[in-house]
């Protein structure tokens, strides 16, 4: 049966204060309100429903454990929150309860230069970690779009993706082991093996992956041992223009087959994306008119390897009909990768007027062969909803390499949709969820995955999880969820996992 949750009363608040101290607990409305939302469309007309009852900022694994014990004992929902920069609503509370904010867990615990690992608390920011490692001559080779602000713990929670994953992998590849507080309060360690710094092992089940991308539904990750890299000698971004999307798409295949191991990323921008950027981005405004699609690439490695790879790349682009867009464009485009594009005044109505908006990023994982078909269907769906509701704006599509350590295989098909939250009501919110679901259905029809890195936590996507994970996988999720979290306190309602408690799932 579905859990009946206890109310957070003054007694619970007092107990929390006893665990973390008065300064680290708040019930003030505005403090709760700011932690209800994340940077994806948020139903501000229903803000109140997502308010947590209390916010708590623990300072140690032990404090997290005591908080979870308390919550489990009283059956109070717990929603972990890192920077709150996720592009799906994994950190948005659905059942109120305790908002557990991990930001005070922000220390580097150990840097092992001999074995090239770093152990951190998960509330540390990626840029800050990067700065620290740089001082010792090492590289934190994880580069999500949210690099300047996201926290490693949040990246672990969502199973995050890195722009340069083609050369250095993504979060699942870079985390070697973790300290996890289970919903019962028990503190465990999981890793590639039982040893914290080993990168490959065959001892036992591979349990580490359970806690990557779990969206806070299985526990709280408080510490992690991470892989770190030597500082690369060379960084080389290069962008190319094409007069047709299809030409760029074919050229992407040639690039993939060249087996360039220093190629960290290739990103294909379709015609709608280029047109969108031409509205506001000076670099794109200046592009030749016949450039309707762009491929951006970046290489990391030794000088010799990168130089050799760039020669192969330029030859392939020439043969594929691409145009080098120059050093200034390429370097500027790469340097601004964390900064640009998604801004609240870039959305437009169909009449071209500015529409203060947030953005939704649909982030499906799609096979190379299916990219053109899914792309066309997505644009067509958005046009349909634009015409019907006049509130969506199509920011175009980027297709990023998605496979770890190799620039081929599947791609993140990433579409930006601009949505004016201030105009949202139930009907428009429902329309958004419906559009989201239909786009995800297209992906499943083409043997893709609903989400590559943001997490399928929102209604619309979440209802399709049992379809994507059919043939036993979703049943396993339900069994695991109920076994780990018998009282359904951890981020309840996400992934549709309330169903695990309706009746016992059997394999």
């Amino acid at each position: 049966m579905i859990s009946q949750y206890a109310t957070v009363d003054q007694g619970i608040v007092s107990d929390l204060i006893g665990i973390v101290g008065e300064h680290n607990v708040t019930t003030m409305l505005h403090q709760r309100a700011i932690r209800a939302a994340v940077p994806c469309p948020f139903p501000i007309h229903r803000w109140e429903e997502h308010l947590p009852d209390v916010v708590v900022l623990p300072g140690s694994t032990e404090e997290v454990s005591e908080i979870l014990k308390l919550a489990n004992r009283h059956r109070i929902p717990i929603v972990p929150r890192a920077a709150g920069t996720g592009l799906n609503d994994g950190a948005v509370p659905l059942r109120k309860g305790i908002l557990l904010d991990i930001k005070r867990l922000d220390q580097v615990l150990e840097l092992d230069d001999a074995n090239m690992t770093v152990t951190i608390q998960t509330g540390i920011n990626n840029q800050e970690l990067s700065r620290t490692l740089k001082r010792y001559g090492f590289w934190w080779p994880f580069d999500p779009a949210s690099f300047p602000v996201s926290l490693v713990g949040g990246n672990i929670g969502t199973g995050a993706w890195s722009l340069i994953g083609g050369v250095s992998g993504h979060i699942p590849d870079l985390v070697l082991s973790m300290t996890v507080v289970l919903p019962t309060g028990r503190i465990i360690e999981v890793g590639e093996s039982g040893a914290r710094k080993i990168r490959k092992s065959s001892t036992g089940y591979r349990l580490k992956d359970l806690f990557i991308g779990h969206q806070g539904t299985l526990g709280v990750v408080t510490e992690a041992t991470l892989d770190m890299f030597p500082m690369p000698e060379a960084e080389f971004p290069a962008s190319f223009g094409y007069d047709r999307f299809e030409k760029a798409w074919k050229n992407l295949r040639s690039m993939s087959r060249a087996f360039l191991r220093t190629m960290a990323m290739a990103a294909l921008l379709d015609q709608e994306r280029v047109e969108f950027l031409r509205r506001d981005d000076e670099a794109y405004i200046a592009l030749p008119k016949n450039v309707r699609s762009v491929i951006g690439t970046v290489f990391y490695g030794s000088e010799a390897e990168v130089t050799a790879a760039s020669e192969v790349l330029f030859k392939l682009v020439r043969e594929g009909g691409g145009l080098y867009l120059g050093e200034e464009f390429s370097e500027g485009n790469w340097a601004g990768r964390h900064e640009t594009l998604q801004l609240p005044l870039h959305g437009r109505t169909m009449l071209g007027d500015v529409m203060p908006s947030t953005w939704h990023v649909q982030d499906a994982a799609v096979l190379y062969s299916e990219l053109p078909a899914v792309r066309e269907k997505w644009h067509s769906l958005v046009r349909e909803y634009q015409e019907k509701y006049a509130i969506f704006d199509d920011g175009g599509i980027i297709m990023h390499t998605n496979s770890p350590y190799r620039p081929w295989g599947d791609y993140i098909l990433s579409m930006d949709l601009f949505i004016p939250e201030m105009e949202l009501d139930d009907a428009k919110w429902k329309a958004f969820l419906e559009l989201d679901r239909k786009m995800s259905e297209v992906v499943l029809q083409h043997n893709g995955s609903i989400t590559a890195c943001h997490g399928a936590t929102r209604p619309g996507q979440a209802e399709l999880i049992p379809i994507e994970l059919r043939n036993g996988m979703y049943d396993m999720m339900r069994i695991i969820k109920r076994a780990f979290d018998p009282n359904n306190i951890m981020n309840p309602g996400k992934f549709g996992l309330d169903s695990a408690y309706v009746e016992e799932t059997k394999l």
Binding site: M28, L29, H30, Q31, A33, I34, R35, A37, V38, P39, I44, W47, E48, L51, L57, A83, G84, T85, D101, K103, R104, D106, G123, N125, Q127, E128, R135, S146, P148, V149, D280, E339, T340, Q342, L343, P344, L345, V354, P356, S357, T358, E421, M422
Partner: protein, 407 residues
């Protein structure tokens, strides 16, 4: 009574918040643009957030709190403890994508500092107040008394043989804080201008320089004092005013101009003038100064008025100085901890921690001397240094230059 003065750059900020009433829709739109952006670059760049790790203490937190109230969630009565957690250093403004990419065109430049001042003052007007308000009021009263005491205020000029108060097209502006708390900096500035052969006059009995008034609904007093100084400078025939305190420079450049329109004189910061004198050969740094120096960018220069080159150029030209530069954009993340107005008085412990971290960063780079451009940084870091028993040397760039020039 902010509507009497153009204190804020956005009209909506002039409408006071009141208990039990929704903020105006124009303000909600301004708040929404930060809520909806949600790049949240304003988090990690904020020196306060770096210590408290509380996202309420950031531009995102301030704007979203008000936006939530507009949506009927929350009330202004509980905002005081949150809105006091801002140094007004400007880091979130310069780092904000709204400023960087849309500011000029759409007129949506991030104005967190003004928002914080507005809310603090509105809370005072609404009878709600905020923690530490009494301390801030005392500081304002102290200033109002101090600016009438000639013996204290102008004592720093004794023995310098400089003209005080007479007509001159070049005026050296030294306000109360520097004149009384960082006398050596003021004296070094005057000596260097003299050495360069410049004919200048020192402003007599300056009145302004109390930003705290803007935080406690005393905009009228702030404007009154500012007007006195602007009028006095006009009467002196000033064509160029050289400012020694970066806080004053910020007030002149960003606030006085908004209140009074274009000023009848040019305002320049002291190190810009001194560097020009060095370039023209009118000041020669000749004495070797053997120091391992790190330069600390004052927020009011680096983040708020875009002055960061001249102090570095000066330090680079002083013989004997081993200068290790920390990039000025990296220093967007830094502050001494004092803040531009009320922060330290309300949050002394956080101010201390921020200061400790700043000194630690300098030591980590091998610095033995932290060169400063601001008397408030010097004052606060001196306190931090003493409490934390650090042996780092703290000295204003102007004073290092004076030693090298030999004045």
């Amino acid at each position: 009574m902010t509507e009497q003065f153009r204190i804020y750059s956005k009209d909506a900020y002039h409408i006071p918040l009141s208990k039990g009433q929704k903020p105006p829709a124009e303000l909600a739109l301004d708040n929404y643009l930060t809520f909806a952006c949600r790049h949240k670059f304003c988090l990690e760049v904020c020196p306060v957030y770096q210590v408290t790790r509380n996202e309420a203490h950031t531009s995102y937190g301030f704007h979203t709190s008000l936006f939530a109230i507009w949506k009927g969630i929350g009330n202004i009565e509980e905002l005081g403890g949150t809105f006091t957690h801002c140094l007004q250093c400007g880091a979130c403004e310069v780092r904000c994508p709204n400023t960087l990419f849309m500011g000029d065109f759409y007129k949506v430049t991030q104005t967190t500092i003004e928002l914080v001042r507005k809310v603090r003052s509105d809370l005072v007007r609404a009878g709600v107040g905020f923690p530490g308000l009494d301390e801030v009021k005392k500081e304002v009263e102290f200033h109002l008394q101090a600016i009438s005491k000639r013996d204290d205020l102008m004592k720093w000029t004794e023995g310098l043989d400089v003209q005080v108060g007479g007509r001159c097209d070049l005026v050296l502006y030294v306000s109360r804080f520097t004149a009384t708390q960082a006398t050596e900096t003021a004296r070094a500035a005057a000596k260097l201008l003299k050495k360069a052969g410049l004919n200048f006059s020192v402003i007599d009995m300056p009145q302004a320089g109390i930003g705290e008034a803007l935080d406690i609904a005393r905009e009228d007093k702030f404007v009154e004092l500012a007007r006195k100084d602007v009028d006095k400078l006009r009467e002196m025939g000033a064509e160029m005013v050289v400012v020694v305190d970066p806080h004053d420079y910020f007030f002149f450049r960003r606030i006085f101009t908004r209140i009074f329109g274009e000023l009848p004189f040019k305002v320049v910061f002291i190190t810009d003038v001194l560097w020009q004198m060095m370039e023209e050969g009118r000041l020669v740094a000749q004495n070797e100064i053997h120091k391992r120096v790190i330069y600390h960018d004052p927020c009011t220069l680096n983040k708020l008025t875009n002055v960061w080159e001249s102090p570095r150029k000066i330090l680079s030209k002083i013989p004997g100085v081993q200068f290790t530069d920390e990039h000025h954009i990296d220093q967007w993340y830094y502050c001494c901890g004092n803040g531009v107005s009320t922060f330290k008085k309300v949050n002394p412990e956080i101010a201390f921690t921020i200061g400790q971290r700043r000194i630690r960063r300098a030591l980590d780079l091998g610095g033995k001397t932290l060169a400063l451009g601001c008397p408030h940084c010097w004052d606060h870091l001196t306190e931090v240094k003493t409490k934390s028993k650090s042996d780092i040397e703290l000295i204003n760039v102007i004073e290092i230059l004076a030693q090298s020039v030999g004045v």
